[in-house]
Symmetry: none
Subunit: 523 residues, 2 copies
């Protein structure tokens, strides 16, 4: 079985996406997730170009990867210097990694207009840089930037840069469509022309400016490339890079190429969503393979056919990539997950029980309103328990008020007052905070403290806000996720409202009730 | 010069998008816009399948198109009946149109499992349907549904359905990849195989389930198809159809094929945005050719090269499709983008000016605090103008107070009061809203309305919240982005604070000041 090596550049090229700004911590989280998916190489950044990337490489050394190898990125050395004099190349050689990717110029226009050196000097820069890094025992991948554009303008020079990189010891020659302007037919034709002149392994790295990055990557593999570079969800500068999710799924399912195991392929949807969350980019509903609409059927005529045979309007089985089929107009989905969860909680529900139907309707209504329980299992558990009347409330809210005041001296004050009852005992208290939600959180904990001291063991560990139907501007609905944790575990809860205070309140209350219930059940 | 006919199915296939629900009025607006762009054929809907489409065809007859021809959609006649007995075909024959598209089955699996008729009866249904419509003086386009899947499973039968349609009088045989599962190489190979067997004009209609719809459409044209079906922005069921914007741009600019005039091509961005507005779908920032990030440069090394020669990182001139180049302000890009932006605003700043250094430091500090200007260009402009003291404030805030109250009956009230001065005139007012930010937004507009009636022209069109350092729980910093728009343009602003009300306030104020400044500069 043919093999293609998967090389992820989400943390370097993907970070060029407008709107993405990774912290070092974000990058560590994503790198771990990519390793979990079974990616071969992870390009972590360009140490020396900015301090954040250097800090990332320092921190990531503490992480033990299962499979992935970490790669640093850099360019050929500065002009009119030697490779050994280049401080960034020195950093690459000494940062403790075994793999490095170097990009160099293949397009004469770039050599003349950007580098402003002679064509021969560029050849020498490529050669010296690779030889220097090889002498430091590094494996060098060579990114031939703008190769396809260069080849179309000056084929013999572009090819000469590749042969130079190969003869200087590069392990892989990666052909780049940096500007994303190539048609698929051009990719195929050019690779067929250059392949006979090279012995080295060939790679492909393309951008999506013509909307063909996925197709062009596949065509390159069909033409003989055995190393593929892309990013999760196709993140990248301008129109992005090739979407690694779609390319891996196509390689595996359509070309039968070994690049990911069947079991790992089922994690694709989860990895795509996770990276989109960390990147704070909404996952595209219609993203091929992994989007929430990728297997959503709306036309009645399609749904009728799908019931007869799912192959009629699906190019692959959605489960093979961890996605699921959705019939948008129908009420067929969802019951299975309710029964599954109820069984986990040791409630024996049948498919046609009155309670199952009631719960199913309730969940459908809530999801329609914007709730999402996939990422908030604690709220989902509470929902089931409430519907089955398996617990009584720990407190009754009589009301709260949250106030934010800004004075002329720019001072900000956030204060919350809360009135509630535990059994028959009233509590009325107030607290300030760093913002309205924090003030409300503080006031609620203060009010409950004497009744439930165990709440002192838990704290909120994450807080996310997503604006739904964002076209409604400041009147839009928001969904709030809150993660809470104590010594033993962590749990997510959700709230939805046009009012961010109310949405946060719902998620706060769930997080507290979940904790109290957990403690009761232990006894 | 070779010609390709452009056939738009936004109003029929595009309407299958999850989240799109066109009114008759929406459809009329879009049809007019498509005609303005110079589209050859507009598929308006499936009269007979639903009353809305029939109503559309009634209303659209009052509109005089410059160039476009309207097409109705339908299927082969019902089984065990004759074409003349089929009520939907009768509707097609009598609704006053001259063009009709009929889809029929090419895949034996569909004939057996969905239609549940014999292979021969399906052939007869295709033939009878086309002959019946031809007898009514209609031009018939034949959509060979699932042709590529069918051909891969049973090539001789799939080909037989095409020959039948051709011999029955279809003007164009449209090859469909209905499930969107084909690789580009398969499209090319299959068209090359079937072309010698057909005399009729060939068309292409593909879906995007593998992310290759644009590439596959182009490959089909290169293999000989001269009729292309797609939708604006690639709308359509599941992962959508081929994006007509990208395909037209590629045909014109990359293959030199006559399908749209140079002048009309410049309307592409505007048409894409208009249709996304009417469809209530956010236009994708990274959409090839027409997205707002399609020519946005973020990496410092790219920006430096672009200043030397714009061909270095652009596959086409953005103006040719009505788009524009953007240099994003980010920690990755540095001083160059400040100078570029200042020049756009007609301020002449040198690289080593005192003001440039001051601005650079200010931006670095703000980005460190969590501001992000690459996606908030309006705030970036205001920042430069403020730093260069190029405008005076439009109002002075004396204070605001925002209150959210929840009562025992679960009723929620959000109210904001605001006190400000315009010149020396004080204004003190209050407003309710759907949440605290909406209440504040309403109160601010109310307070400013008499002084700046032009604010009535703008509205907020998008609202995003991102929690930074989310591990701080409810005390975390939040970053708010607001998009505003008026008739002419749209602009993004940003605010950051631990307090979501304050962060929203900053972005709100910027959005309003940007609008007022824009109006002053016009004068």
């Amino acid at each position: 079985m043919r093999k293609v090596v998967i090389y992820d550049t989400t943390l370097r090229d993907g970070a060029q996406t407008r709107g993405i700004s990774y912290s070092v911590h974000d990058k560590v989280l994503i790198a771990k997730k990519l390793d979990g998916l079974g990616i071969d190489f992870i390009e972590g950044g360009w140490p020396g170009s900015n301090p954040k990337d250097l800090e990332f490489f320092k921190q990531i050394r503490k992480v033990r990867f299962k499979k992935a190898k970490l790669v640093a990125f850099g360019s050929t050395h500065r002009k009119h210097k030697s490779a050994g004099q280049d401080p960034i190349l020195k950093t690459l050689a000494t940062c403790g990694l075994k793999f490095v990717t170097i990009f160099g110029k293949s397009w004469d226009l770039h050599v003349k207009d950007v580098l402003k050196v002679s064509l021969d000097e560029n050849i020498k820069m490529i050669s010296d840089t690779i030889k220097y890094l090889k002498s430091k025992k590094l494996t060098v991948f060579y990114d031939a930037e703008h190769f396809f554009d260069g080849y179309r303008h000056n084929p013999s020079y572009a090819l000469r840069t590749l042969v130079t990189a190969q003869d200087s010891g590069a392990a892989v020659i990666v052909l780049c469509d940096t500007n994303g302007g190539m048609l698929t037919s051009q990719i195929t034709k050019i690779i067929n022309e250059v392949k006979p002149h090279l012995k080295a392994e060939l790679g492909i790295h393309v951008h999506n400016d013509s909307g063909m990055a996925i197709a062009n990557s596949l065509a390159a593999v069909e033409a003989g490339c055995s190393h593929f570079q892309g990013t999760i969800n196709g993140y990248g500068e301008r129109c992005g890079n090739a979407d690694l999710c779609a390319v891996m799924a196509c390689l595996k399912l359509k070309l039968g190429i070994n690049c990911i195991s069947e079991a790992k392929l089922k994690d694709l949807v989860e990895v795509s969503r996770y990276v989109s969350e960390v990147s704070n980019m909404k996952q595209q509903d219609n993203q091929p393979f992994v989007g929430s609409s990728a297997f959503s059927h709306k036309a009645g005529i399609h749904i009728n056919a799908m019931v007869k045979n799912p192959k009629t309007y699906e190019h692959i089985n959605p489960e093979s990539v961890g996605n699921k089929r959705r019939f948008l107009a129908s009420e067929l989905s969802g019951k299975t997950s309710i029964l599954f969860k109820a069984r986990e909680l040791s409630y024996d529900l049948g498919k046609d029980d009155k309670n199952t139907k009631k719960l199913h309707k309730l969940i459908q209504r809530l999801e329609h309103e914007g709730y999402q329980f996939e990422a908030a299992e604690a709220s989902f558990e509470l929902l089931i328990k409430r519907a089955l009347k398996k617990y009584k409330k720990f407190f009754v809210l009589e009301g709260f008020r949250v106030e934010v005041e800004k004075r002329q001296d720019n001072q900000l004050i956030s204060e919350a007052t809360i009135k509630l009852r535990v059994n028959k005992i009233k509590e009325h208290t107030a607290s300030e905070g760093d913002g309205p939600v924090n003030a409300l959180d503080n006031a609620l904990r203060k009010a409950l403290h004497d009744f439930y001291p165990e709440l002192g063991e838990m704290h909120l560990s994450d807080f996310k806000v997503r604006v739904l139907d964002s076209k409604a501007g400041t009147a839009a609905k928001v969904r709030v996720f809150i993660e809470s944790q104590d010594e033993k575990s962590s749990w997510w809860t959700v709230g939805v409202s046009e009012n961010i205070i109310e949405a946060s309140w719902q998620a706060l209350v769930d997080s507290i009730e979940y904790k109290l219930l957990k403690e009761r059940e232990k006894r």
